[in-house]
Symmetry: C2
Amino acid sequence: MGGCGAIFRSRPDTIIRTATHPSAMPFHDPPRLPQGFRCAATRCGIKSDGRDLALFASDVPAAAAAVFTRNHVVGAPVAVGRGLIRGGRLQAVVINSGVANVGTGEEGIVRARRMGAAAAAALGVPCEFVLMSSTGVIGIPLPIEKIEAALPELVAALQDDPVDGARGIMTTDTHPKAVSRSVGDATVTVVAKGSGMIEPNMATMLAFAFTDAALEAPALDRVLREVVDETFNMLSIDTDTSTSDTCVLMANGRAGAVPEPAFRSELLEAFTRMTEILARDGEGATKLLRVTVTGADGERDARRVAKSLVNSPLIKTMVLGADPNVGRILMAVGKCFACRIEPARIRASVCGLPVIEAGCRRAFDEAEARRRLGGDPVNIDVDLGVGTARTRAWGCDLSHGYVDENAAYYSS
Amino acid sequence: MGGCGAIFRSRPDTIIRTATHPSAMPFHDPPRLPQGFRCAATRCGIKSDGRDLALFASDVPAAAAAVFTRNHVVGAPVAVGRGLIRGGRLQAVVINSGVANVGTGEEGIVRARRMGAAAAAALGVPCEFVLMSSTGVIGIPLPIEKIEAALPELVAALQDDPVDGARGIMTTDTHPKAVSRSVGDATVTVVAKGSGMIEPNMATMLAFAFTDAALEAPALDRVLREVVDETFNMLSIDTDTSTSDTCVLMANGRAGAVPEPAFRSELLEAFTRMTEILARDGEGATKLLRVTVTGADGERDARRVAKSLVNSPLIKTMVLGADPNVGRILMAVGKCFACRIEPARIRASVCGLPVIEAGCRRAFDEAEARRRLGGDPVNIDVDLGVGTARTRAWGCDLSHGYVDENAAYYSS
């Protein structure tokens, strides 16, 4: 099998067990929603096939925090959402796929508000408690009437399985994505989508986390930002930062108080797992690529080098082809112009096999390297030898599939 | 035919006529070497087939300037070359392909010096007048004995056709690359190679420019840096900055003095043409992509936005597929976090067809857009509307070919 010691279940499954990041607590299999949360998805007719409208709702108002894309050009839902989240309170999130409602001007803002208002009316909650998200093609008007018409029925269909909601937010994803973990008596559940136009900065494409733990909005905001920075912000599928990235965390308190450190720890596990699931399902991906950088002169350098490796087309194609052209690791480290790099101190291994020593390619068993590179996931570990900072980043290989999906995304 | 008004001759040819950058003076067809320069190429046995060793030499010592990669990890020839070029004088350049002599430690430096010394001995010139370059796989020892054995014969074969020398430095290039222009009574000729691991910073993979104009080394250095910055440094095939990038300019003075501005102008034309030839022959490329950014708040912003567009996998696949998914232009502009971007002022056109107006996708004839995107080259023009700075950048589309070449580059 090769690979780096992790076990992957078949592609359409949502569960990935990650041996290199063990956790005392297992993930719930199947995932479940926390108490008081329900969801539903339907087809309202925006996409030519498949579900394209989803709703996640809490029975009671929940404390909430959110982070959004740093792209200068943002979707109307992001522009509206930034205002809504200031209240620190949400009761529902309504999401469509197929059309991103980006590059649509003032009319886009109007339609985003109508989408939230329609969900609020159907649920019988205030408009300011409903955040809306849209994902899909940029520059196309949002078919708001289709969404408005479908919402009453969607509310009537609310149920307990998060996978059902996750299915409604997919675009080029090959499977719905949901994970959940326990934290004391509470549960934290993450659903997400995204497989292209992904190098999140502030949040991944669309990720929604729900918990019945009782936490106030400022604590949620702090924990969310810290955990997103270590997980979704270190994910890159294609370097292209979306205009719609949104990550929302809602806590309805139904399971009572939970210590913030314990909650943070479980959220980190859940987001790490979801980051790996998203990377593994990158457009056209055949493998998850995990990069660990140690010995960096500061966290900024560690992050830049790790991102340089997961983003390099030559590293990505090396991983695809299981081709031990490991000199490319030196190239990808060295091109981080602004970082402190001392070539003679660089060490690297591929799936545990040392391949670079003192900045030079060292002798290694090439057949064994090929065998390990042929597995999934592929781990690349780089030690810069100049400091103590470390970080992880996640990506995937680059295959024909990515080219095919994106050469005709709009047309298909 | 579609396209943007330029005429391309068949792929294996070295000549590209560029209607949007007209020049009073034509390129010499076929290209020729300036007076007093000769070259030769042979197969010394580093690669499994094809020529892999080339030599360019002047009859007399020439004033010289060079720029090298900014990658922290550099090839032994770059490390040695940085010292050599301080003398401002060269008489020859010897280049091998197949092995880059990078990540090879002290022994790599020794072999690079032996390579220069062998060429110097065969030519009967001082060692310090011979610069060496190597391109190919990183981390493999340079087969120096093969090079040493082949050099006397290579010197005996020196002749006048630059295309012959260009053939000896190819790696994944699909054709040899050479252009030449007149400047007064003098000629300036550029030969280059490179089709992957290319986002040069300081210079492209390997480019050698020769002139019989009389210019001193400080003037050559100034002109070279300015022109490289506008041309090769705005080229990106895959964002991966090579460890071997080298651009050398030699002036042997055989044709007498030429005014510096006239020389600069012809060098700019020649390097611009060569940049387009390199981009068009990017690994797997089917089209040249030209991006012009205007209205930027400073040159730094203009360059960042232009590079963001040529480097975006989603723009590159849109160009491949002739898919008018033009909202991606907004994404690629907006993800330049550090730049001044006012979304409502962004305008863009694709091959002359306006597609973005005031930050929104405007109505346009999609069939016409497909037709134009189906041509070669594809021009994307973006006006940021916030300043007066402008720049150009060059790239290519992303196809299966790139993936195929790089998933098994080392193994094949």
